[in-house]
């Protein structure tokens, strides 16, 4: 390849990946997948840090469990469940279409899977927040 040929300067990934304005449904799916992936990765780190409380003895861990029963933490857990549902179901679409299965119907597959994720999210929400 002729190295004298100019390449474009790479754009900021924040703008390139997270700005779905005026784009097609595929970009919304892409943004959702990125956001939920980052959220789940962050949760994984927090989860490991929290498990570190086990090393500080049963009393410390007990106090920690009391803390995370606060509604703010329960809502945070609910967001993790939602992220898992969206990322997981969207992943099914990507896995199928990545090898040519259902490519012409990828928008419909996305909508259908997100409806399933939403229904599952409502069911989880009712169970998690039920008094």
């Amino acid at each position: 390849m002729d190295e004298s040929l100019r390449k474009p300067p790479p754009r900021s990934w924040v703008q390139a990946w997270f700005d779905p304005r005026r784009r097609d449904l595929g970009t919304f799916a892409f943004v959702l997948n990125r956001v939920t992936a980052l959220g789940l990765t962050l949760y994984l780190f927090l989860h490991l840090i929290m498990l570190g409380n086990l090393a500080r003895g049963p009393e410390a861990y007990g106090r920690f469990l009391e803390t995370i029963e606060h509604p703010v933490f329960v809502f945070g857990e609910y967001l993790v469940v939602l992220a898992g549902l969206i990322h997981g179901f969207n992943g099914i679409r990507i896995a199928l279409t990545s090898f040519g299965i259902g490519v012409p119907y990828q928008k419909r597959i996305f909508v259908a899977l997100m409806v399933i994720a939403a229904v599952a999210g409502v069911i989880f929400g009712v169970r998690m927040f039920a008094v």
Binding site: M1, D2, L5, R6, K7, P8, P9, P10, R11, W13, A16, W17, R21, R22, R23, D24, L25, G26, T27, A29, F30, R93, I94, T97, S98, F99, G100, V103, P104, Q106, K107
Partner: protein, 247 residues
């Protein structure tokens, strides 16, 4: 009843070498059924002769007039004004993304064309070489040039590259049109193609956003072709596992 004339404002991206990018506004009158390229040409003809843009055929064959209209990749010669604005509205015209800007609406497509060559994409061939007529007949057009036959739908406009978020952050990614060209050519045609596309910057870099297919003016369906190319890659690699070495 006469043809309605709309008053519109065109915000046109301007950037000459070394200058900071900005937008110039032009108050224009336009027939809603004419095309965005017609208005850009009138801006150049009657308002600012320093405006640079690419165009040639005016009927979506040459792929030269790709731009972003209101943020969306369009072939401006087939994009009617009424599709992108209303009477009293504004049209924002930008150069394509993910290409270096040469001047105003003109981008440097040299690397893109070189990559298309690399995968053997042949959008046109002389009709005699295309194998559709006997070689003894050499049809010529009115200018005495040998007639060419279009072989592939891709017009190399680059709109798919502009719309791709992966190409935005990874300039080494081959991009949808190039991978679609490789798929049309077929991996069995050249061993080198497999090495080019079965690469971290090739067929596996696509993240299934499908914007390429959404903006393609020629219905090439680059996304479908990329997915099909993946199947070809896996099939070819699998076959090679059982081939005697050296073949």
């Amino acid at each position: 009843m006469g043809t309605p004339i709309w008053k519109i404002t065109c915000q046109v991206y301007r950037q000459k070498d070394g200058e900071t990018a900005h937008y110039d506004e032009f108050a224009m009158e336009a027939d809603p059924d004419e095309y965005v390229l017609d208005v850009v040409e009138r801006i150049w003809a009657f308002h600012d002769r320093s405006l640079t843009f690419r165009h040639a055929c005016h009927h979506s064959t040459c792929g030269a007039c790709g731009m972003r209209v209101n943020g969306v990749e369009k072939l401006t010669c087939i994009t009617p004004i009424r599709e992108v604005t209303a009477d009293g509205g504004t049209i924002k015209i930008d150069p394509m993304r993910n290409f270096p800007v040469v001047s105003d609406l003109v981008v440097d497509m040299g690397l893109f064309y070189r990559r298309m060559e690399l995968v053997g994409h042949q959008p046109v061939l002389p009709v005699t070489e295309a194998g559709v007529i006997e070689n003894s007949r050499r049809p010529q057009d009115r200018d005495g040039q040998e007639q060419m036959l279009r072989l592939a739908d891709c017009i190399e406009c680059g709109l798919c590259i502009s719309a791709c978020p992966i190409a935005a952050t990874d300039p080494d990614y081959l991009g949808p049109a190039v991978l679609a060209g490789a798929q049309q050519n077929g991996l069995d045609r050249g061993r080198h193609l497999l090495e080019i596309v079965d690469h971290e910057e090739g067929v596996w870099r696509c993240h299934s956003v499908y914007e390429c297919t959404a903006v393609c003016p020629s219905y090439v369906e680059p996304a479908w072709r990329i997915m099909d190319l993946r199947k070809q890659v896996v099939k070819t690699r699998f076959k090679r596992l059982f081939q005697p070495k050296g073949k």
